[in-house]
Symmetry: D2
Amino acid sequence: MTIEASKSEQRAPKIRLGMVGGGQGAFIGAVHRMAARLDDHYDLVAGALSSTPEKALASARDLGLDPSRSYGSFAEMAEKEAARPDGIEAVSIVTPNHVHFAAAKAFLERGIHVICDKPLTSNLEDARALKAVADRADALFILTHNYTGYPMVRHARELVRAGELGEIRLVQMEYPQDWLAEPVEQTGAKQAVWRTDPAQSGAGGSTGDIGTHAYNLGSFISGLELDELAADVHTFVEGRRLDDNAHVMLRFKGGAKGLLWCSQVATGNENGLKVRIYGTKAGIEWTQADPNYLWFTLLGEPKQLITRAGAGAGAAAARVTRIPSGHPEGYLEAFATIYSEAAAAIIAARSGASVDPAVTYPTVDDGVKGVAFVSAIIESGKANGAWVKV
Amino acid sequence: MTIEASKSEQRAPKIRLGMVGGGQGAFIGAVHRMAARLDDHYDLVAGALSSTPEKALASARDLGLDPSRSYGSFAEMAEKEAARPDGIEAVSIVTPNHVHFAAAKAFLERGIHVICDKPLTSNLEDARALKAVADRADALFILTHNYTGYPMVRHARELVRAGELGEIRLVQMEYPQDWLAEPVEQTGAKQAVWRTDPAQSGAGGSTGDIGTHAYNLGSFISGLELDELAADVHTFVEGRRLDDNAHVMLRFKGGAKGLLWCSQVATGNENGLKVRIYGTKAGIEWTQADPNYLWFTLLGEPKQLITRAGAGAGAAAARVTRIPSGHPEGYLEAFATIYSEAAAAIIAARSGASVDPAVTYPTVDDGVKGVAFVSAIIESGKANGAWVKV
Amino acid sequence: MTIEASKSEQRAPKIRLGMVGGGQGAFIGAVHRMAARLDDHYDLVAGALSSTPEKALASARDLGLDPSRSYGSFAEMAEKEAARPDGIEAVSIVTPNHVHFAAAKAFLERGIHVICDKPLTSNLEDARALKAVADRADALFILTHNYTGYPMVRHARELVRAGELGEIRLVQMEYPQDWLAEPVEQTGAKQAVWRTDPAQSGAGGSTGDIGTHAYNLGSFISGLELDELAADVHTFVEGRRLDDNAHVMLRFKGGAKGLLWCSQVATGNENGLKVRIYGTKAGIEWTQADPNYLWFTLLGEPKQLITRAGAGAGAAAARVTRIPSGHPEGYLEAFATIYSEAAAAIIAARSGASVDPAVTYPTVDDGVKGVAFVSAIIESGKANGAWVKV
Amino acid sequence: MTIEASKSEQRAPKIRLGMVGGGQGAFIGAVHRMAARLDDHYDLVAGALSSTPEKALASARDLGLDPSRSYGSFAEMAEKEAARPDGIEAVSIVTPNHVHFAAAKAFLERGIHVICDKPLTSNLEDARALKAVADRADALFILTHNYTGYPMVRHARELVRAGELGEIRLVQMEYPQDWLAEPVEQTGAKQAVWRTDPAQSGAGGSTGDIGTHAYNLGSFISGLELDELAADVHTFVEGRRLDDNAHVMLRFKGGAKGLLWCSQVATGNENGLKVRIYGTKAGIEWTQADPNYLWFTLLGEPKQLITRAGAGAGAAAARVTRIPSGHPEGYLEAFATIYSEAAAAIIAARSGASVDPAVTYPTVDDGVKGVAFVSAIIESGKANGAWVKV
């Protein structure tokens, strides 16, 4: 109850936003829209919401879009919006993975900022090509590794940066789920179908869908660069075409070690993302399902439970939170933070102003790392767990 | 991960919303605005954001309001907006308690729906008068007892209604905080100043500020009516003019008993709102700080941990949630649910359509009960804990 | 893992112990015997284990007692053992409450130390009489308020004594169970039968059985003296002759306040004993079901989780624990601590040596306070919750 | 509170017990003694408590042993006790690992039952030789993998056996500690010195000390046989001669997979032993620090928290517990269960009776598996994580 003023408002004109994907029946599109709305920096004004024209139109109507700005394809949207004086300044790409590359390229090349769902692309070749496009584009590229938006994740990272953990020895990451414990993709469930289809998802199943999240988060907090990995990759559910479980041993540059486990068949787990980092001086533990808490233990001292906006939660966390301690923030708030960080950068870019150095969001480089990580896991898995450099 | 479609969008034109209070430096105003935005049913178009004219104007500018719709007083806003063809349809009242009555009256009498922060008013006389106004008004009155918007609270209530708990015997409520453990109001902290000022808050300190929340929540879930109470009311911090701790014994109609404890001096507690209800067949426990979980135990069976949108969370919870299980929702989402329930009712009211009976929000009657509850506590406290009928 | 040596052994000859009650079918007798054995200070050599002669004998045989030292009554045992040169030095009394007084008197008056289950007696008159006996006896009286033996309870008390909490404002105690949610005494279950029988238990049901435990524990940790109370006492289960739920408001000497809730009908609770104490500088919270943890929060600092034998657990806890941190100790260990504290006092008494001032166990005075507490609750309950001095 | 009778007593004459190791300054010896005492099946009557004669004698005196039965070496004790008509029937071996083989052999070959601390031996050759000795001996061999004595571990195993989990897919084990995060062995701390000394411990550091515990527990519950493993073994603390962290990927016969992590440098962990097992139908999770709870989740159902002696905890758990639910049992109780299971087998062996098939304790075969496991880890570690058959 010590926050005396809101941080959710600001003065700049809202950013005109388009969306690719996210039509009726989609899950993540709605999440992006709620995230964009929460802190009020965006106006959704255009969409290519579905590859099925009538669904695209119906979805646009649901969202109150001007029908003339509901497009049949991202390509058409990119072209026409770029030509309008009041065209979109940014676009959210929320399609299955295999579409990310072409869509992002179309907008970036026209100077339209891209906010793209993860993983970056469905293969490493596309990822590198997209990086090349992004690097030379006159537009920003933001990857929605949304878990980096949680205040206590920011605080964890700040603790590492401030040296509070000493030299890091261990980075343990896990992301167990159970929603694919049975062959639900065979029932036609949309979320399961595309996530288990190599053509839409790429070579990684659980590894690409959630392993990348865990890896991104461990890297984000620890600041470490991965050197090599050895993986045991498996598909438990008969008939499934992509992995649904992976065990990965990690060696970071500088000598730290790690483990990563991702699973979609771990019965009783919903979204059990957890990161634990141990250094010579202290250890931290964070669990996504209870995100307002961070365990922090100095060697030889009692465990501390630091709460979002509570005592001991520093400036990095405070920057990205909205309400006082004890009133929980959740997934949508963390997702909204990615949008608001993007907004800060986009608004600065309007005028060529420099961005506040505190602004932090995942970039195309993080995306390339994620795809390279999955690629290395798959390679190691095929080589019976041989160590593979990333 | 089984939610295949979003529920956050709908087709009706957005509701034109005004706000009274909530200018720069306010906390709850920003919360109301985020709540109104999340599910996209409202457009904030007018405001009387501060009783200080220049602050009102600056606040309106921050929020991107048309300066001509930034008013110097709620009275002016009520009059002028009611006269506009595109005037506000609803208003949020987020001032200190003593303003609620007059402001709500001004809008209700002009047919403008009111969404009002709790407690209803600063005294019982005003509360009853406001109820009379609301009852005869051609407009809805919604009280933002926001905790009733949490999905697992809805599920808890559904379990009670379905008879899963059997006959209820005990309703235990507590809401400990520690932010007033020291005389922070003497440092001028705005949130503390008005909450400890009888002129602005009414006769209840912790009882009015948070005790009402706990009581409302216990009543909402249990469906029980309070019969009488006995209270030990105390002010621990020297110089404070309102209570900062209360112990209350409760007797409900029909024979159930309860305890309510509210405190603003319980060191180590942020917003420890907790409700536990025990019946002849089962018990439930819910804690606001971890709102995505509900403990449910049938007598003689293992404890069950039901998760938001997870297995066992029924239709009442599903109606008011946005994302799959395992990704936490928080305080703002619950608050947004009150706004969205209000929107459903307001939209139906536009056309005189009947409201979906599932739509649930706290009403003026809940508000009167809350003020009567505080009034009875204060009366019992003054009578050294004698039983007082409510 | 930093404890390098055991503290469970010592050199003095073992104490010759007798037992009254605790025959076949008893629960608490076996607990006392395990507690007596754990730290190896006692030899059980005699018993009046049951008021049914054949059961007494069979029980003695089970325990490997010399049949000649299995007695038909406590009176016989007191007389004959007192006459033996190798007679018992101490006796454990583990009968239903109404027997405590006469049995304890018989042994105390013969100079045999008494270790007695709680509550002290079944009524206040007996309690005061027993105190008089104990005060003039040449023997020690130890009451097994076993929860005071938990290391983190000792640490909590130490924190209060050291002033770490500042001035105490609130002492919140609760002890919910659910094992009497149905009329199980009507099925003949032995534990339920005597605990709901006024002739054997006294005037308090849940209040005497578990309310006294909670009260004793809150008093032990806080060091506060109760001034007065107001209680709402109730029996939910039809046909039950003693209370199964009580709500009590407390006022301590010096100005602190408290709440106590005990229940045997709170569905889903096993032995939910919990004590929370809040002072001007810090708060602590301890839960019996998870006894190796103590929450400690300094105002304005992160919450600390202090673990048994871990960092921050001081000397008072270390004195009464056996194994390193991270390996849990439980109920039997805490119970054993009462026996070992008693042993230290008894061994000192053998030679007239002074006892280590760190030795701590509940006394007859604590017992009188407990019975007076129940008596005051019952009185207040009958007076519709009027305040009663204790 | 539904347990009506104790299970801690029985009629058979106590087992005469000796002890090798466990003198002054030892930690685990005292634990074994408390475990042997708790359920009252043993009398400690002889010892070779230290390899230092005067320390052996002083230790024997502390324990009240007849000085004539305090021996200078295990060899002397084996010889002389075997020759006495009232000689020991069983011996506890609680020395550093490298002594286990010779000591166990000396007693087994004389028909004296052996209760031996883990790991079985300090190398695989000794382990296999000891198995040969045990297999042909006229005496029992019990290995104190004490965690298998926890009631909820027994229940977990019962759930697997009963098919409640379906086909097991994943066995995840971890045992993080932090007590060797710094080079404490260089300060001379006894527990650290021998545990980091290859001559006393064998080739495994954290792997032998705690990795074996985690592996044993995962195997005990799952009933699975390991096929092969790949390990990344590391020593973080400079100058340490044995591993202090290991990451191990596991493949079980039949197709299940697993991960095992053991660490003695994971800052903030005391004894974080945790086992999680996921099958096609359900998953279970158990944590040693909170041993009275078992999480059990059927796919598509709410999570269940099963408590020791509470609803849903079956016969296998009830066999090995002492007190009603809600009163926690801990590490010593679980350890005592191993002793009591051993006692049941030893008492049956006295008369050649068959043992109750419910009696369960770790055997020499479990010991060989444990040593082979460590050996395979070390081999894989040296081969840069290549897969090694076990």
